[in-house]
Symmetry: C2
Subunit: 398 residues, 2 copies
């Protein structure tokens, strides 16, 4: 596997574009990704009981396993808009269908932004012709920018792998950066690939890759109403069709999960107000499930995150949130390392190592390792620190 230039238009047959349609004043706010031919499609969406209209529409349009276009707007979530919301989402899909000739139920729709504000759908539908006109290989950067909300930078990646002698490419774009939590948060991620893969295998690979990428990222513990991860696979790489569980599937899955983990980490790194990127690895528990739970509990702790912002090696907060996770363990076996410095050993704080540990926290990247020495279950979560910047963005925005 090698990293290549670009993102969603790196795989054969994909084009993209991004424009300003007027939901936001000046910034790009409408993105389109399109495959020249119908593609196998799969998606994972928020587990929030309150789902935005586009999430429901996209769920429906994915049922047959095929899609050809993704349209996404930022600046308005089209959520809590009652029946109007669904009409507006459908109008959006219809405009893309009219402008491109793609069947209406092969258009997937996503939105992100303010909840509970009427969507000015006519701005979207009026902009679709110029959006379609702008489609091209180079449009991926504008598409990545158009889905941003409070993100400071666009998140893009593409890789190439060899599958049975053919080069298969996978590209992706994503946006964060608040309301980021397990089960995917205000997070949009669109993946394209020219792989020829069975629809069931595509669906399974996406679901598994989400578990270890976007579902292990948290910025603020808030799960959104609009989270959507979509993948389109158009088969133009002409590889032998990938079957679930085969050797080729493993290669494809490895590349897909790499792409998604990279994008997920970027979401944490660019969390609202973040000054530090934090990786939390938990090991030595009975199950992977337990390790995931504990890693996410630590990642979601406001006290751990503020301590990191203050460059304080506050192991008490790490140990306390590990214990608050509900996972049972033997405290006397607990080992905690901070940037490689073992500050808790056999459940006892090594207070003398504080100065050294504090010094290690000057950098931007912080690594926390918690080992309970009681099994093979392990997991890794990613988050950022919690700063005054987060509060300013979320309290003083209006």
């Amino acid at each position: 596997m090698k990293t290549i230039k670009g993102s969603v238009t790196a795989p054969k047959g994909f084009m993209a574009s991004g424009v300003n349609c007027g939901i936001k004043k000046r910034k790009l706010d409408l993105a389109l990704i399109l495959s020249g031919v119908p593609a196998h499609a799969a998606g994972v969406c928020t587990k929030n009981t309150v789902k935005a209209a586009p999430v429901l529409l996209t769920g429906n349009n994915l049922k047959d396993g095929w899609a050809q276009a993704i349209i996404a707007n930022s600046g308005n979530a089209n959520c809590l808009n009652g029946r109007d919301g669904m009409k507006w989402a459908k109008d959006t899909a219809k405009a893309v269908s009219s402008g491109t000739g793609i069947a209406i139920d092969d258009v997937l729709v996503a939105s992100t932004g303010i909840i509970g504000k009427p969507l000015p759908v006519e701005r979207i539908t009026s902009a679709v012709p110029s959006l379609v006109k702008g489609l091209g290989k180079k449009g991926e950067l504008n598409a990545a920018k158009a889905i941003m909300t409070t993100d400071l930078y666009d998140k893009r990646i593409a890789v190439a792998v060899n599958i049975g002698g053919k080069t298969v490419k996978i590209g992706g774009i994503a946006k964060g950066s608040g309301m980021i939590c397990p089960n995917m948060a205000t997070m949009l991620c669109f993946i394209t690939t020219d792989a020829d893969i069975e629809q069931g295998a595509l669906k399974a690979s996406l679901k598994d890759a989400v578990e270890d990428s976007f579902n292990m990222v948290t910025v603020d513990g808030d799960m959104s109403t609009n989270d959507t991860v979509l993948v389109l696979a158009n088969g133009l790489a002409k590889n032998r069709r990938i079957k679930y569980g085969s050797g080729h599937y493993e290669v494809f899955y490895g590349a897909l999960s790499h792409v998604m983990a990279c994008l997920a980490k970027e979401v944490a790194r660019d969390g609202e107000g973040a000054t530090k990127f934090v990786e939390i690895n938990v090991s030595g528990l009975k199950s992977r499930q337990d390790a995931r739970k504990m890693a996410m509990e630590i990642a979601n702790s406001s006290l751990v995150k503020t301590a990191i912002a203050g460059e304080d090696p506050n192991i008490g907060r790490i140990a306390s949130s590990a214990g608050a996770s509900g996972v049972k363990f033997d405290e006397s076996k607990m080992e905690i390392s901070l940037n490689g410095i073992k500050i808790v050993s056999c459940g006892k704080a090594r207070f003398g190592l504080r100065p050294e540990a504090k010094k290690s926290m000057k950098g931007r990247d912080i690594k926390i390792k918690v080992d309970l020495k009681s099994g093979k279950g392990s997991a890794t979560a990613w988050t950022c620190d919690l700063t005054e910047g987060y509060i300013r963005i979320n309290a003083r925005y209006n």
Copy 2:
């Protein structure tokens, strides 16, 4: 029931005192509460897997249902100190026993403060004589101050009720103010009463009252290693002994739960960095359990709490966190009121009411009501807003 002056020394036979023993530089940091006669005792402690040594010791000393003194220090949690921690907690109890003649296993010990720092126990044991000397009815204020950490003010209350012609008094002190979350957080609460009550009834009443008071308070979603709620009932009111489930029990329980709810609300009001006090009432769900879960999810949402700090009627964040709670409901029935203004009706945002709702948020007290119109389950949670002040306190303290 009427509110009376004072706190833990209001009931007959109780004395208290507070001193500085040198864990903190100048502030009071050591408190003692004592009953002149042995008392029925009960306690509820943190559910954190990592428990501080004094929590474990107090759990042991409560097993026989009797106690006579509570000693508590602030500034050091005596947690993550391995076997030394338990020795230090026992040394503390022993010093009180030596100084007062109370049996060592009738001394309950509590600590709050920094985790993972050796406890300078000799400072505590050296201070016990002056602590004992200072015991008196007036010592309750110093005791309340001595358990404070980042609390801005002491939290005290006392009430009197008539039980079968006798006046029964209940008094309490508590401290917050970070690491406050369901299952009690870095929260200490000590209750005294002169009621004559069966030990089993006392235990049951404390457990139930915690559920609707301290377990419904959150500041930052972090559960601590040291949370402890203790009650001593010395029987000196000479009422007919209160039996579980009797009419007198209901009167006693009403007064106890009032005392604890008042203290719990003060903990939220004085949350770290708080500028607003927030009450969240959820109703119309199938069970009380579901309502509690949803109320606490909303109360723990960083996005809801920052919106309140910014006086923004951001119903999207309220609806989204309601949906993120895992409780299933029919979105089209959802009704949300903010300070009495119905901003979501039949699941649809009433965007035009924003200016009015925004205006209502100028005050210090914020009321959120979420009604799902699908059952009789309801619950109330309390929290505060999330401000730059919280970050400063928790990131820039060292």
